[in-house]
Amino acid sequence: MTDTPGVADYPLAETRPDAVRALSGKPMSAITLDAVVAGEVAMDDLRIDASALRAQAAIARAAGRPTLARNLERGADLVAVPQDVVMAVYDLLRPGRARDKAELLDAARRLRDEYGAATVAAFVEEAAEVYERRGLFRFRY
């Protein structure tokens, strides 16, 4: 999906079943029960791809929902980030988990450099600045 879809292209599963592809690259139309039974479908074939999230972000923006669009774009950024890293960053963002600002900035750097997740990295950096100002680098347990 290279062009920018709008409200009229929604739902994509109906308007573009062949263009919708899983993270693995397999087209949505190839995910059949026969394929599952034949052992040809793995969990990566059932994972959403960043391109679909960006398409949905474009639809959300066209429908007048810019904040939802931004969240879907952050989601697109995180598609390539492994589950354990996602959960580790989430935990680090919780109050008192990071001992100082540097820990969060390190996490942001890793998201940007290793996974190209620039939008999310900037978001984590913003959190680091706010947490410092609001005194959130404090002992919790």
Partner: protein
């Protein structure tokens, strides 16, 4: 009297209502629903294209929540315009059907929490319900149900999930009594929800990381336990920040999982960080924050805080107000009606009504589809016990609450199919071997107290095996297919496959008839009567199709069942036109036209001849002489009695309808000014009829008997009987002919007394 208390208060004390505790308004301690003196005045300042001040706080002094709202919710290009509109003017636009929703949503992007709360504060409860109907995002209403049980029994979860899906819940949500049973719950509900149709979105509420892992394994399709709070203290105590929760929202999106946040009046109060501010203002902050995070929707309207909110003056109105702000901010709204906020069934019914008639994306953010004791979230406003009451409310108000009545055969078929399917999956994946006795006990069980099935410990072993062996939804689909459950395998796959397009990540998305329906392709277009969501004929028929309804055929069938027995008990022979009598002790008993010929059973369930025999014997015991006449010109009780009285030698007569209504009348009285009347036929016994006969004889002989009073306990007899009464009475009036002469009847009681 030593008792100086009006005993009505003792009666009131004994009612369930008085188990509810009510709190005094006390803003300093956080008990203020709509408005507190500590709520800030609404204001905004924009400098250099940035928000420099919001609701009286300068940017330099923003707490985390202010900061997040100012950065991501408030649109500096819209805020000056929107904030310049007086609150009352905005309130009027909310209920003005000619003011477009889209324009109000645009303006909301520039409104601060204090202004949003101020505006909805101008609306009455009725206006809020109307505004909600106009402002909610998706046109078609929906509903969500809880599927849990007290044993975490996977068999019962599967059977109950199939029922919930069959009833029409668009989303089902489970959770567990024992935290480590989440995987077992998820597998069982996913399999059960694949029976009958596909498309119900499914959630397994558990610890954040585990919930996401279960979603990654493909068992679940949405999450809603991402809580946010309206004060910084509550947020941090809840172990999160706006940034951590927004990050989690993005994480769910990245895995193709639908997500909404949770907030709701009373949460900050319960957590001890209320800042002496009103429930509504704090919730307005939560909602602006949620839009700022970019979540598509919210679960609000009290939720766990609903009971404490409902303890305050105006609490129910506050819950409506916060739901209204949610939809004004263009968020999907799973509108609470969740945690049971009262023991009073009247308060329950009143609470649900505005949402039912206004419609909502998800009317309940968890109706208990299971019994109260099986609801692992705690009892809901409405539960398995009261679910049919909700179905009737839909029918009463011709309002779509998202559910559809189900017959007994259908319910059992769904349960048995779901049990067979989940048993096949558990066996095929070598997770457990349910016995036929276990399956049979669950199939018929209303709740887990009635089952002989898996224990919480069994569920833990199943759950741990699923987690440890990395079993995914693909394994479940393959197991279903291998064991001959091809439809269920297809259904489960169809839902998981939908993940790839991300269509259900848009606002207010659900799946109906195989299609994603959301605010994008099914936007609420309400603009007055004749617009917006309306029941189509098929949906109306589905909603009104309750079980066990009455019609004329049903009434006649029930009467016919008595015909044979009645034929053995009494014989009525017509002797031609009846003449006026002259004997001083005579009591004429005037029967209605269908008495013993088309109608054979009274509303109390007695054969009509038994009733008549009681009256006849009563007259004789009282020293009178009964004579039977059938009226053919009227079926009305008063005129049956008065006509009988005018033919009676004593001037006293009895009127008797087949359904059991009876009157004693006197020849010189006005038609509706009788001597005695039994108007409540369903609670009138044979003994009452016997005593009525005796009194009729006493009047005939010039005595002054004590009237017979049929005691009532205040039953809603109209509700219980009037549908049947109307159908029965039409049979009586259908036999009446103008000017027809009364018939003399020779009556033989042929049965044993």
């Amino acid at each position: 009297m030593s008792d100086n208390r009006w005993r009505r208060f003792a009666d009131w004390d004994a009612r369930p209502l008085r188990l509810d505790k009510f709190a005094r308004e006390d803003p300093e301690n956080g008990f203020a629903a709509m408005r507190s003196p500590r709520d800030p005045a609404a204001a905004v300042a924009v400098e250099d294209g940035r928000i420099a001040m919001m609701d009286g706080t300068a940017a330099a002094d923003f707490d985390m929540i202010d900061r997040f709202i100012a950065a991501y919710h408030l649109d500096p290009a819209i805020a000056p315009e929107a904030m310049a509109i007086p609150a009352l003017e905005l309130a009027r636009r909310l209920v003005d059907m000619t003011a477009p929703r889209a324009e109000l949503v645009r303006l909301a992007h520039g409104l601060t929490p204090a202004r949003l709360a101020e505006v909805v504060g101008h609306l009455s409860a009725l206006e809020m319900a109307f505004a909600y109907a106009k402002m909610r995002a998706r046109r078609t209403p929906g509903n969500q149900g809880h599927v849990t049980n007290a044993k975490d029994d996977p068999l019962q979860l599967a059977a109950d999930a199939a029922i919930a899906v069959g009833l029409g819940f668009d989303e089902i949500e489970t959770t567990q009594r024992v935290a480590r049973n989440a995987w077992s719950n998820a597998l069982a509900c996913a399999v059960g929800a694949s029976v009958g149709r596909w498309g119900a979105l499914f959630q397994c509420a558990s610890e954040e990381a585990e919930e996401l892992a279960i979603a990654m394994a493909g068992f679940t399709s949405y999450a809603e336990t991402v809580s946010v709070y309206g004060s910084e203290g509550a947020f941090v105590d809840g172990d999160d920040t706006p940034w951590s929760k927004a990050f989690l929202a993005a994480a769910y999106a990245s895995r193709g999982v639908k997500m909404r946040a949770t907030s709701g009046g009373g949460a900050e109060l319960l957590m001890g960080f209320h800042q002496s501010q009103s429930l509504l203002y704090l919730e307005a902050r939560c909602l602006c924050l949620q839009r700022a995070m970019g979540v598509q929707g919210t679960q609000n309207g009290g939720i766990d805080g609903a009971p404490v909110t409902m303890s305050t003056p105006g609490g129910a109105r506050e819950l409506m107000a916060e739901n209204l702000i949610a939809v004004w901010l263009d968020l999907e709204c799973a509108s609470g009606n969740d945690a049971r906020p009262t023991e009073s069934e009247i308060r329950v019914g009143a609470k649900i009504m505005p949402y039912l008639v206004a419609g909502s994306d998800l009317i309940c953010s968890g109706m208990g589809s299971v019994l109260k004791y099986d609801n692992s979230f705690n009892p809901s406003l409405l539960n398995g016990e009261e679910l049919e009451d909700f179905l009737v409310l839909q029918r009463d108000f011709e309002a779509d609450g998202g559910l559809t009545p189900m017959g007994e055969d259908r319910a059992m078929a769904l349960r048995e199919r779901a049990l067979a399917a989940v048993a096949a999956v558990l066996e095929h994946l070598d997770l457990a071997r349910p016995t036929p006795a276990m399956l049979a006990s669950v199939a018929a069980a209303s709740g887990s107290n009635d089952t002989a099935s898996f224990t919480p410990g069994d569920a833990s072993r199943i759950s741990e095996a699923i987690r440890a062996r990395g079993i995914t939804v693909i394994d479940a689909i393959r197991a279903l297919a291998a064991r001959g459950f091809a439809d269920e395998a297809e259904n489960l796959l169809a839902l998981v496959r939908l993940r790839l397009s991300g269509d259900y990540l848009q606002t207010s998305a659900l799946v109906r008839d195989g299609r994603v329906l959301s605010a994008v392709n099914d936007p609420n277009d309400y603009a007055g009567p004749g617009t917006g969501y309306r029941l189509d004929p098929a949906r109306r028929e589905a909603i009104t199709g309750l079980r066990d309804t009455l019609d004329e055929r049903e009434v006649l069938r029930s009467q016919e069942m008595f015909r044979k027995a009645e034929a053995l008990r009494a014989r009525y022979r017509s002797l031609g036109d009846a003449a006026a009598g002259t004997a001083p002790g005579e009591v004429v008993i005037g029967l209605s036209p269908a008495f013993g010929t088309r109608l054979f059973k009274t509303l109390a369930g007695e054969g009509v001849s038994d009733m008549l025999r009681a009256v006849v014997e009563g007259v004789r015991e009282g020293g009178g002489a009964p004579r039977i006449v059938r009226m053919l010109h009227t079926a009305d009780t008063s005129f049956l009695g008065l006509s009988a009285a005018r033919m009676s030698g004593s001037g006293v007569g009895v009127g008797l309808q087949a359904k059991g209504t009876a009157v004693i009348h006197q020849a010189d009285r006005l038609p509706h000014h009788n001597l005695e009347l039994f108007s409540n036929a369903p609670i009138t016994t044979l003994d009452h009829y016997r005593r009525l006969g005796a009194n009729a004889a006493a009047y005939a002989l010039g005595r002054d008997p004590e009237p017979v009073v049929v005691p009532t306990r205040g039953e809603a007899l109209g509700a219980r009987f009037h549908a049947e009464v109307a159908l029965i009475y039409a049979i009586e009036t259908g036999l009446c002919r103008d000017g027809a002469a009364p018939e003399e009847i020779a009556l033989d009681f042929t049965g044993a007394p």
